[in-house]
């Protein structure tokens, strides 16, 4: 009897060694700069360490301190406020632009797309510097425009609320076009036959919009909501350039990432900064999950 020779798993792997070699660069880099850092940061978060000398094991005390750290919670609050002020207008305007760009008879669509997207190509540093002059306290362009309609100049960068409005406006400006292009792609992917069928069935425009367009666009909306949430939670450059490392007057523009940067790289509290990054991760993960559930239900 001839026995079917089945190659062992190792022989199979050895035979395909070039394939493993081809995919290895990513996995090596990820092991070094992705996996290792995550575990190392967990390890660091249980230690007190200034970057020099020995690490002292402190158990959970840094997390305990974090829970009562008013500055951290202010940063969390600020980050959420900026997220709220930016994401709703951003996604709303993006939807409006996408619907207009999707009108079948529109001319110059691709030029419009480029013009709307160009804001997203610009570096945040440059955007923050430009917006700084537009919203400067006394002689800014915005205050000049307001004076034309009889509103007295506002101290944009001295008010805890207005500072967040300025930061949110940068985010909105940079990302409206990006989200509009994504919505447009989603709209163009909806099969034309669905609309035709609805018209034959006697549906009016409002019904078509709410019964066909919005439901079929939902996965794309979900995608943009999650991306926007994760992006907003990591805001750093806008407040840092606009207000400096302190986060401005009374820390009104201090965000979670800016706080982590301060603790790690200015105060050399690497252990505590790691604890902050883990707390941020938990907050972002929970918040993304809530968003996910809400958008799926809506």
């Amino acid at each position: 009897m001839l026995r079917q020779h089945k190659p062992s798993l190792w022989a199979e792997i050895w035979k395909k060694r070039t394939l493993y070699l081809f995919i290895s660069p990513f996995f090596l880099l990820f092991a070094v700069f992705g996996v290792f850092p995550i575990f190392y940061s967990l390890y660091l978060s249980f230690h007190s360490w200034s970057g020099l000398g020995d690490k002292t094991f402190v158990g959970l005390s840094q997390f305990q301190y974090l829970l009562g750290d008013a500055e951290f919670w202010q940063a969390v609050g600020n980050t959420f406020a900026i997220w709220f002020l930016s994401s709703i207008p951003m996604l709303f305007f993006a939807l409006v632009i996408a619907f207009l760009l999707n009108l079948p008879s529109l001319k110059g669509r691709s030029t419009y797309q480029t013009m709307f997207f160009i804001t997203n190509v610009t570096s945040i540093v440059a955007v923050a510097i430009i917006f700084e002059t537009i919203f400067s306290n006394q002689y800014g362009l915005m205050n000049y425009l307001l004076s034309l309609i009889g509103i007295t100049p506002l101290e944009w960068l001295n008010s805890g609320f207005l500072v967040k409005v300025v930061i949110a406006s940068m985010v909105v400006w940079r990302f409206v076009g990006y989200n509009a292009i994504i919505y447009l792609a989603g709209l163009q992917n909806i099969p034309k036959t669905l609309y035709e069928a609805a018209i034959i069935d006697g549906a009016n425009k409002t019904q078509i919009f709410f019964r066909i367009t919005i439901p079929l666009l939902r996965p794309i909306i979900l995608f943009t909501v999650i991306m926007t949430t994760i992006g907003s939670m990591q805001i750093f450059t806008e407040p840092q350039i606009l207000l400096g490392n302190s986060g401005g007057v009374g820390g009104a523009g201090m965000t979670m990432t800016l706080y982590m940067y301060n603790e790690g790289f200015l105060n050399n509290q690497f252990g505590y900064a790691s604890a902050v990054s883990w707390a941020m991760f938990i907050i972002i993960a929970l918040f993304s999950l809530i968003n996910w559930k809400l958008v799926q239900k809506a």
Binding site: L9, E12, I13, K16, T18, L19, Y20, F22, I23, F26, L29, F30, V32, F33, P37, Y40, S41, G51, F93, I97, L100, Y112, Q113, T114, F116, I118, T119, V121, T122, S123, I124, V125, A126, I129, I130, E132, T133, I134, Q138, Y139, L141, Y144, V176, G177, Y178, I181, A185, G186, Q188, I220, M233, Q234, F236, T237, I241, Y261, G264, F265, F270, S277
Partner: protein, 276 residues
């Protein structure tokens, strides 16, 4: 009816044009400031038209900072990263799309999961690692961690499945190509549109990166444009003409690059989102 249609069209263009003006205005304003003197910029009401000071301002920028060095650093780091990303991601993407090997699905799932890990988690330890390697203040710190990306591999794999037919690979194999030759001579030419998008996408990302170079680079001779701009903004905070001209000089090359490639790029952005 006809006038009704005309009204809808006019209204559509009107709303879109307002959006475009808001999009473009900050760039216009940047050029206005870069062509005027600081005292003109600080006037109230502000001067809203172009001035004649651009060349003086550029000269002042070049005298106060090493713009060329920062420009070269940024260009070098972006270019090398793009070459690395295109090579490693297309090789891996091709492998995942067209071959079977033990553990493939598991490895690919792991790769997708890595995209969900927020970057700030590894920020502090990655910096410590760079310090441990002795890479602080070097191009290595800016280039090596970004040489391959999960997104890039995912992107190429998606594209490769349709763009490179199995029959073509079979024909190549009969002609005696080894796996690398199949990648290099058969798959790579068909992957050009996907590579163009991935290349521009990566280039823009590296060019504009700020936080990572900010912590890993200390000496001005290694500053990238973004770090240099932030320094300029901090040190010359009363000399708006210099800051704005520097900002314009750092921003313009990328904008021009984007406009040249905008068609391919926009297509890529749209495809990526719909495929999720």
């Amino acid at each position: 009816m006809a006038s009704d249609k005309f009204l809808t069209k006019a209204l559509t263009h009107f709303v879109l044009l307002i959006g475009v003006i808001i999009s473009i205005f900050p760039f216009y304003w940047l050029v206005v400031m870069a062509t005027n003197t600081t005292s003109d910029i600080l006037r109230f009401p502000p001067k809203l038209t172009f001035g004649h000071e651009l060349f003086t301002n550029v000269k002042n920028v070049l005298a106060s900072i090493d713009f060329y060095q920062a420009f070269f650093n940024t260009l070098f780091v972006s270019t090398v990263t793009v070459i690395g990303v295109l090579f490693f991601c297309s090789l891996a993407g091709f492998t995942f799309a067209k071959f079977r090997f033990p553990g493939k699905n598991m490895l690919f799932t792991a790769l997708l999961l890595t995209m969900m890990i927020p970057s700030q988690m590894s920020f502090v330890p990655s910096f410590l690692l760079i310090a441990e390697f002795g890479w602080v203040d070097s191009y290595k710190a800016l280039i090596i961690p970004g040489l391959a990306s999960a997104f890039g591999i995912f992107w190429i794999r998606q594209f490769c499945q349709d763009a490179v037919p199995d029959e073509l690979l079979e024909a190549g194999r009969l002609d005696g190509c080894n796996t690398f030759r199949l990648y290099w001579n058969v798959a790579l030419p068909s992957l050009r549109p996907a590579l163009t998008f991935l290349g521009i996408f990566t280039f823009i990302g590296v060019w504009n990166d700020y936080l990572w170079p900010l912590v890993t680079i200390n000496s001005p001779s290694r500053y990238t444009l973004q770090v240099m701009l932030a320094q300029l903004n901090g040190v010359y905070d009363t000399d708006y003409a210099i800051i704005m001209t520097g900002t314009l000089m750092a921003t313009l090359p990328l904008i021009i690059l984007f406009i040249i490639f905008s068609k391919q790029f926009m297509k890529g952005v749209a495809e990526g989102a719909v495929k999720e």
